[in-house]
Chain length 476, copies 2
């Protein structure tokens, strides 16, 4: 255990210094590094593999929803951004601007996309003629730039990766349902792939996307009790259709503006994954998204047959589509145990001469530290089962954490104290925009998502009749 | 046939106006559209699906080579680009520059990456300490920007998508072999997936990458006889390692600069695909890369059981991992035949009441226009076999076209005449840089790749002893 301690001291204490713990984990696991330009990040292979697993999951779901992938230009003419009044107000302060290119000053400055509503709607206006062209549903995986003052790897960086889906429907219901359906897709992705439970609901008017009619959000609760907005979907009404002149001939042969939606999740999900599952020893990867699901550590690796047996098991697992790494480097087994625990590999298999003699491998779970002996004759099935168990258990643990973080209260001061103490409060609010702003200005606490419409109570702040129950919390 | 003619007239004549034919095909098949900013393109779903198939193929090959995917920031500090003298000279004229962001002028201007050697090597210099860290091999799929005066969709655009692999080895041989191996990977991708044969070899000193010691290129020959550089790999020697201070402790415990390579292919491959396989009627997609491999067209679709049978066949094919589309729209079968021929779908299945009665589907190949009857009882296997045959045949046709385009000549005027008439010339050259430049200045004809070292002849231009045989040609 001495080694463990020595190792753990490399990472800040999760209980007393959560922010430093986070930075230590994402850097030391080699998921990410700081880029040379302030506020940028390099996504290293161990982090990028998580992103690829998210991409694979979502691409399948998008396809089921009839969404096609495409790619739109990164440079948006400055005039486009200005077309939708709320949109430009929301994004103008944080855009990066190309002013010259090819050795010449540009006649019109180009905005590096912070999001692509304006340029995609411009193209949709060319392509959409009739209700027969609708719904039009496209998605792109790309980089976006939002110049932020305070940045943290994955959570808030000047440039990040995301997907953005954009649709046009022939009716309000169509586009609004799309925003709701995609929120379900996202919520299931977090639950099934990342083992992250979320609170989902509509955002308040104050907190909605710049240019949207309605924004739906999902909030994941981190181990320090802060909320992380893990994804949003927007019903945009006819706002962008009017701004970009997207008109279609409806079934009555009349020209009508389209109804649009957009939705996105980003590489900040990787930050959410770390802060949901990590512990004292570092990262814990849920098996379904883990770049390495199983690490094989040879014990007494120079003993006859050990490395051969490890390779044999590796091949067996690979043939069952299990992502496995055999670490046959010269480092000590103890060093390897620490290394892959820090990296959060869900399952470790130790294979030494005695194990081979007994026809077993020693399995150690990352989530519970439980040890067991797995029969080599049925190793692929046994490992697959264990991985499933770990996935379920990690979701269960995260769900319990979320439940424990939520406090229901009707008292304003209690709400503030509880949120400041690392909880999320569920309280009644009048729905008035100024009332909500006052709470924010006074306490820095914002609403997260609306839990449910409910006018049976009083607003926690102003005492007027409630409009809904809403979550209050601090946010990443 | 009247309909066909009417339809074909929509696309410029491939024989008399190849450039316009190309533009018509890529736009009308909805592979691409022009972006709002001059020189940019929108890759539409039918084009993007081709790119995704290329990505899937290459990601598997990269993995076999031990290459890991990652993501590096798009913004490169201006000072980085200047570190390698030839590199900055090569790229400076065509970069796009961000001068302000977040509402403020930037202290240091940021270059939007035209390629990422400088920023990736900067990170490698942090990560690489010892020979044990080598080789380090990463790849990223991303957008890059090169501000060009004259642009054409896929072939040359201000922004395009590509992958760029970057490695560091502990020896010259390691890195140079890597560049050669990756060229083989690319060549196989073009051959096996895109059915495009290529001429591969080292580029001359005049034509190599800005900052490379050696550049290897693959040239595909388009139907008009012009060459298209379809991919390049570079052995960079210690140039970038010195510029970025990548040093490692070698086995003798001495500090040494690393040896690096880089390699990339881009969305211009989609342009190559069109100009290799397209014909009078539009595009022809090789089955292995076709977004839609089979289109099912119902005949007399309102007759009892036709649509049901079409759906049944569709499911059968999908279950065999065949990419299939059933077009049950209200358009006439004739319109559909034209539409999917233009889009280049390799195989059409017509299913009508008489076919169903006979237990067959009528199959029509896009490559040969051959018709055959396929037994519905074994439809998935029969279709899979036909798709394989079409793939082989399209490669064979392209290989014949390439062979016919090459002219061997020792006479300078013949070389120039032949190249200007749409051929590629294989001739001897002295290898002298000034001699090569003179040819280019005089004729606009450049060398493509070196065929083989050979000092047994005389230079086609200056008459001095030859250094090698080299391909001369016009280029995209």
């Amino acid at each position: 255990m001495a080694k463990d301690k020595e190792f753990v001291s490399d990472i800040a204490d999760i209980h007393t210094n959560f922010p430093q713990w986070y930075t230590d984990v994402v850097i030391k696991t080699e998921m990410v590094d700081y880029g040379p330009v302030k506020g940028t990040m390099v996504i290293r292979p161990y982090g990028y593999a998580v992103w690829e697993n998210i991409q694979n999951y979502l691409n399948k779901e998008f396809k089921k929803q009839g969404v096609a992938n495409a790619y739109f230009p990164m440079f948006i003419p400055e005039s486009f951004l200005k077309r939708e009044a709320e949109h430009v107000e929301g994004f103008a302060p944080e855009v990066a601007v190309v002013t010259y290119a090819g050795g010449e000053d540009l006649a019109e400055k180009l905005i590096v996309r912070p999001t692509s509503e304006t340029i995609i709607c411009e193209m949709y206006s060319k392509w959409i003629k009739s209700y027969r062209d609708l719904p039009m549903k496209m998605n792109q995986w790309c980089n976006v730039v939002r110049w932020e003052k305070t940045t943290r790897p994955f959570l808030r960086t000047s440039e990040f990766l995301w997907q953005e889906g954009h649709t046009v429907y022939d009716s309000e219901q169509g586009a609004d349902n799309d925003a709701k359906t995609m929120m379900e897709v996202y919520q299931n992705c977090l639950k099934n792939l990342l083992a992250i439970p979320t609170l989902t609901g509509r955002k308040t008017e104050n907190e909605k996307f710049a240019g949207a009619v309605a924004t739906y959000g999902m909030e994941a609760i981190m181990k320090d009790g802060k909320c992380l907005q893990a994804g949003t979907t927007h019903y945009l009404g006819q706002n962008f259709a009017k701004a970009s002149n997207i008109k279609f001939l409806n079934k009555d042969e009349k020209l009508e503006y389209g109804y649009s939606s957009s939705w996105g999740v980003s590489t900040r999900l990787i930050g959410a994954l770390v802060m949901t599952h990590g512990d004292e020893r570092g990262m814990r990867m849920p098996p379904n998204v883990a770049p390495i699901q199983v690490v094989i550590v040879p014990i007494a690796s120079k003993a006859a047959g050990v490395i051969d047996k490890c390779n044999e098991i590796k091949t067996l697992l690979e043939n069952s589509d299990i992502r496995v790494k055999l670490d046959d480097s010269n480092n000590t087994p103890g060093w390897k145990f620490n290394e892959y625990e820090m990296k959060g590999v869900p399952l470790r298999l130790e294979i030494g001469p005695r194990d081979i003699e007994n026809g077993v491998a020693t399995a150690v779970r990352r989530d519970t530290h439980e040890k067991s002996q797995l029969n080599l004759g049925d190793i692929a099935n046994l490992v697959a089962n264990l991985l499933n168990e770990i996935q379920s258990n990690m979701l269960k643990q995260a769900e319990e954490n979320m439940k424990n973080a939520i406090v229901e209260t009707d008292d304003f001061n209690t709400m503030v104290d509880q949120v400041n103490a690392g909880k999320v409060a569920l309280s009644y609010h009048c729905g008035n925009s100024e009332c909500e702003s006052e709470i924010k200005d006074k306490t820095t606490i914002k609403t997260r998502v609306i839990h449910s419409l409910d006018n049976s109570h009083k607003c926690i702040y102003c005492g007027k009749p409630s409009a809904y129950r809403v979550y209050f919390g601090k946010q990443y």
